[in-house]
Symmetry: C3
Subunit: 138 residues, 3 copies
Amino acid sequence: MRQAARILAIQTSGQGLVEITREVAGWAAGQGMTTGLLTVFCRHTSASLLIQENADPDVQRDLETWIARVAPESRDWIHQDEGPDDMPAHLRAALTGVQLSIPLIGGRLALGTWQGIYLFEHRRRPHRREVALHLLGD
Amino acid sequence: MRQAARILAIQTSGQGLVEITREVAGWAAGQGMTTGLLTVFCRHTSASLLIQENADPDVQRDLETWIARVAPESRDWIHQDEGPDDMPAHLRAALTGVQLSIPLIGGRLALGTWQGIYLFEHRRRPHRREVALHLLGD
Amino acid sequence: MRQAARILAIQTSGQGLVEITREVAGWAAGQGMTTGLLTVFCRHTSASLLIQENADPDVQRDLETWIARVAPESRDWIHQDEGPDDMPAHLRAALTGVQLSIPLIGGRLALGTWQGIYLFEHRRRPHRREVALHLLGD
């Protein structure tokens, strides 16, 4: 049994979902393990991680519309330090979470046919985000 | 230290929570480990996983009512390929997530007294769902 | 490769976020590992776990305001056994989840600069909560 770890840097271009399946699965495959556990961890409080459908881009647009309704911009928020998109970004990151663990079985991540891994940027401006990858297995 | 993995198939009968604690805990117990980490991973984008109270079935009904309000069916969603329950199913899966990790301590999953593991089916029609189980420990 | 596990007891003083970063990170550091995976698991259905900004306390207040809107107290809930804060507590725990996994890299948890680990108490009255910690690595 052994471990591998890496920090992945991802450039975002403002609010929305950025698919990172290829980078994450590619790194995991490169470790040459057959069975294991992959953990993906977003090191931010205004961006988050999500596993969602990667077939129809409309799903991603609807997800963005929905999260903006559930955790809206509002003058009610006390915390406005970095503008109106600051506090909603924290709420949206709380809603979807910053961590995913995916089993590696038979040399492949156990993702379903339509599952993609996404970084969800919640700030309006582009950001450089860091995602920690950790794989444990043999 | 060693690993075990399995794909569990679960038949759902339409929208709602399906308790899978017995199947999951039974499989984990059967691996004969004392300390470890169990990961449960749902391989779908319109069904999800949840740990919730397993005592009063009213809690499950209220959870179903609530999620239908927070992520409602609506003509607003662009993605309607498989009907009005299609996009809300993705939203509800995003809300509760598709992955759980539960420590195994002293030969038992560290679940609290009232905690049960549920598969949350978000589509109206029955589906056959796959849940990947992974256990690492000794 | 080896494992360590512990049950951490946390006293809450009613609804709100309780930061537990120091207790969790301190325990993890004490295991003397360089690379590994830490899992934090809340053994309750009316309290949950969250990673969020630990700099400005206003963020925590806004989070509390927001979650009370998304999963409100209501006479609609069937389950009212322990009062009006009973069912909303279950909903809020479902929303944020009860489990976190954080990689340990270079002897430190991979938490970002502004990330803190919080126990989120959803009941009005103070409770003694149990959080299971599990660390696997070398």
